[in-house]
């Protein structure tokens, strides 16, 4: 039985407590959760409302359990996200959430985790890194593959040392267009999948990035021997309501906002490869 209601479309006033510029067009907004709102899980998203402008779905990029502050990495691409650039610390925005199904960390217990992120696909994976760090003994190896267009577009460079200091953790980076100073891998993130050494029978792969990057990543993972119940994808669609009512986010028969955004590959495999489904 569905229990949401259109009253669920009413945003709650929330304070932006901190703003952190990340790259030339990505900024992280730390939002204090309104009272009574449940804490999100890694992989879930929230609907953020700019008064008089509109609402956008933004995934959760970190969860501070003690002070109930949630980070949202916003890339300035459209009318609403561009309006975020006018916000100052202490300003208010509207908040609804958390929504959707997150990463299956419960399934991954006792297994290795392979995170594959492209561009702004890293923020939704970031709470997984935090989770593994805080309960390190629950999981096996953590392998992070991350690619961006240019070195300047790589997110969270300031905390890569922290990632690699987590025991039994690897971080591999790549960029499509290197600068002269870049000494790392060049090319798409799928190249990294080819070279990384993981056991497909004991690893869960969590993938988030542009749809084309996810399609190629999945092909590489299948070639490596991953089964479709060990590959999880976070899909992007147009989301207006977040509760499976407005229809916009449908991918095949699924409301991505409600049945996803994180899906096991097998569950969407009838549709995932179909052009413009």
């Amino acid at each position: 039985m569905r229990k949401e209601s259109y009253k669920a479309l009413i945003p709650l006033k929330s304070a932006v407590v901190k703003i952190r510029p990340e790259t030339r067009n990505v900024v992280t907004y730390y939002v204090k959760l309104p009272d009574g709102v449940e804490l999100p899980k890694p992989g879930q998203f929230n609907m953020l409302y700019i008064h008089g402008v509109g609402e956008v779905p933004i995934s959760v990029s970190s969860i501070s359990y003690e002070d109930r502050v949630i980070a949202h990495a916003v890339r300035f691409v459209g009318s609403v996200t561009n309006a975020f650039s006018t916000l100052k610390e202490g300003d208010h925005i509207g908040f609804r959430g958390p929504y959707g199904v997150g990463w299956p960390l419960d399934l991954a217990v006792g297994n290795d985790i392979l995170l594959i992120g492209g561009g702004v696909g890293l923020p939704p994976l970031r709470p997984v890194i935090d989770e593994v760090r805080s309960a390190r003994e629950l999981y096996g190896r953590l392998v992070i593959l991350y690619g961006a267009r240019t070195p300047e577009d790589l997110l969270y460079t300031y905390e890569y040392d922290e990632y690699t200091s987590i025991p039994n953790t690897e971080l591999h980076l790549t960029v499509d267009n290197p600068t002269n100073e870049w000494r790392g891998n060049v090319g798409v993130v799928t190249n990294l999948i080819r070279t990384v050494d993981v056991d497909p029978n004991n690893t869960y792969a969590f993938v988030c990035g542009p749809e084309i990057m996810m399609k190629f990543s999945v092909k590489e993972l299948l070639k490596k021997g991953f089964k479709s119940n060990r590959i999880f994808l976070s899909l992007e669609r147009r989301m207006k309501c977040g509760v499976g009512l407005c229809g916009h986010c449908q991918m095949g028969p699924y409301f991505v906002c409600k049945h996803g955004p994180v899906f096991p590959l097998w569950f969407i495999s009838k549709y995932f490869w179909v052009d413009q489904i």
Partner: protein, 358 residues
Amino acid sequence: MSITGLYVSRLDALPKIFTELQRLNYTVVGYKVVNNVLRLDRLNTFEEVATGVEDVQNPGRYYLIPGNFHRHGPDSPKNFLYPPRLPLFEVSPEWGVVVKDYSKDLRLAFFGIKSCDLTSIKVLDRVVSDVDETYVSIRGNSVIVVENCTQPGNTCFCNTMGAGPRARDSFDIAYTRLGSKLVVEAGSDLGLKIINRLAVEPIDDSTYSEFESVMTKAALKARANFETENLPELLELRLESNAYKEVVKRCLGCANCNLVCPTCFCFDVLDVLRIDGSAERVRVWDGCLNYTYAQVAGGHFRPDLWARYRHFILHKFTYWIKQFGTFGCVGCGRCITWCPAGIDIRDSLLRVLKGGVI
């Protein structure tokens, strides 16, 4: 279900039902003729109900001629239960939220809608009743007086979709016009109460055989050239059919089909700014044929028209079953009639099922 089974009264019982609904404080909504089109609208008197006209419906064609039976126009009960534009709430600059309350003033009686539209209400019940308080409050106070459809039109295929032409359940009163006779049955306590005001007799053999023969003929007329058995699976196995690309060569992408469809429920929410700095959040209908429907600032998930048309078809006949347990199509034929290019969804389905040729 029918509580009473069939009873017979005279045709002049219809205005009595109408006035009884008004006496019970219902706003009666029915078809009247406006600018040569049947429009579903609030009616003040029984005389406003469309009479003496018949709607001729063909792919891309709609006009009225003199006649004694009308079906429907572009409007459906959705227009009243799930309005095209509905302010949801207002947010003041200080973030005070004022929620609109629609529960008090609406007591609607749908009068003379056909079985396809009754079924569309049943479909909407499944889709939005748990999630849309506005719908629930309007629907909860509504009455349905349905007319069994004795003369389905050329674009009708309700019988194929299991939606008509005879109403079987979920009505307060169902009536059938047979010459000067009116066959009535009640499906609720309220229906019983209203029929109690009429002079009725149990249906006799000859009236029943006339009723049965009229409804059987109507059912045959309201059939499409495809079967719904296995339809969801067959369409799903043909996701990449070229037929969609063939069909949309004529499609204008206008989304008329979405707007006239009695079950299409997709919506957008817009901000309307006020001079005092407050913002009203307004729900407006949206449709999957609109170019912007699956567009985001960073890209577009269905830039091609054929993909948007395919989504419309697959949603009605495949996805809806998985999402809500019924088809999203009731066979009313409005999307065929009101398509400016006359694209016939029955032909489209056949093309997909038969690999592009029909």
